[in-house]
Symmetry: C2
Subunit: 326 residues, 2 copies
Amino acid sequence: MTLYSTATAASTGHLPPKPSLPKRVIIREVGLRDGLQIIGAVMPTAHKLQWIREAYEAGQREIEVGSFVPARLLPQLADTAELVAFAKTLPGLVTSVLVPNLKGAERAIESGADLMLLPLSASHAHSLANLRKTPDEVVQEIARIRAARDTSGVKIRMEVGISTAFGCTLQGRVEPSEVLRLLQAVLDAGADCVGLADTVGYADPEIVRQLFELALPIAGDRLNCGHFHDTRGMGVANVYAALQTGITRFDACLAGIGGCPHAPGASGNVASEDLAYMFASMGIATGIDFDKLLALRGQVAGWLQGEALHGTLWRAGLPKTMRAAA
Amino acid sequence: MTLYSTATAASTGHLPPKPSLPKRVIIREVGLRDGLQIIGAVMPTAHKLQWIREAYEAGQREIEVGSFVPARLLPQLADTAELVAFAKTLPGLVTSVLVPNLKGAERAIESGADLMLLPLSASHAHSLANLRKTPDEVVQEIARIRAARDTSGVKIRMEVGISTAFGCTLQGRVEPSEVLRLLQAVLDAGADCVGLADTVGYADPEIVRQLFELALPIAGDRLNCGHFHDTRGMGVANVYAALQTGITRFDACLAGIGGCPHAPGASGNVASEDLAYMFASMGIATGIDFDKLLALRGQVAGWLQGEALHGTLWRAGLPKTMRAAA
């Protein structure tokens, strides 16, 4: 009965968190990058600026605002430099951008962003299709990016996201041993931190727990991000499983936007609002204001009419117990 | 590295389950009762019979076919006796019915069902609204039902589902101490087994873990069911949390049908097909054939046109890794 105190439970509206669970987590909003890159229509820059500002006002403190890829490949994200410049005016906001290669990294270094996210596919087939490089060629590119970053003197963190870490729609199975080998390789190549990504929604909570438990002894606290697509409804459970291994930072998309070109109708990342709700319900701080985040969701939904939106909390709203506690 | 064997993983398509997780679980299909009771239109008996037969052919071995409540209150479930009679012709199928009181229990005893599910609301307010009895009056009714069952000599199991165990839309907070008190009371009154139900989707995985961990020392293996509504997207994660405490039997609704009159647009129980997918992906047997279950989902969706359906797996289908392994 040691985990449970009636007095505490009665006063806070919920049971106390498991002692081993973290007290605070970060939800990085990646809707502007991972969500919008799959949506054909280009969201006007003014809307994106409003999204960033209102996400910040709702308490979000990490936002991936875009990607430094050639505009001809992803016209949806062509305004990334302008978004970074605006995001950097918001005190305390960690501004993240995705970069696919050294050229993108050079733009990220110039942009003033706080963090560049370098994707590396553990799936050989996906790596070739996505970046036209083998995973080991990407590791070499990461070493070159590290050298360029160090030479520049700019303080920008380098995070490597190991994508398709739980399987791949092209290749099928991805060996955990290959994921762990690449994890070590990118750390050796100079990544400041790493994350594991279920890019196509193949993971379940047990494989998440197992792979993070295997990866943590290799990377320690440099393994600090979980990225889970909700393609088959496992997103929230996968986050909970990673949380149990000690991970405290998760990517998510407002309204669960995005998806996978290989899975029509599939959702994108786990919905930011559902994840924020789970953490709040468990007594784990995220800094997020639900009224503001759900209002922003309604705004973004209006901009994305005709697109598939996901997430569950917005339909039912907060439970009475949490509204009373707020 | 002890949890993980490359050879095993490569041959089965996934990492082996955590040694402490169960190897086999039961998904009780409750769509015909908990799902249909919220849907205004009455599903024709012929469709229900086809649903039961095809669920059985898809490998489901526990089905809650209906409820013995007055037909004027729930005309959707008026054909329950006929459904029980049919279900009992299917070898090895555990046929479950819900009963709200002694009168319903007498009909269940006559019907030939294998199990009667008696709901008891841990929320005082919900208990009065739903059954016009306080929780302790329901405990007394359960004792009367036990006496009637014993007198009848009929072998029908008595399961008590403690509903609103994680909170209530009417009352708000439900004290865990009250849930545990009622759990002990219904066991003392003669329940063969008990389950904990998140009737309105207020639970999160941590409260699920904590409440089951507190309840198991009281009920032991007589606590053998988790019932989770997916109103706020936590259903699958809540099942995973209960599974981690050793629970091996879960209610679910095909296509996540149902909902809550107090939460417009909210989904019902966690979707059977998503739950079956999670277990299969983790290497935990359910006996379910996905092709058949998804075909049945399509059939039921056709019968329920215009109703809100839920669940995620049906959109994307099984991952390549599982299709190859099947």
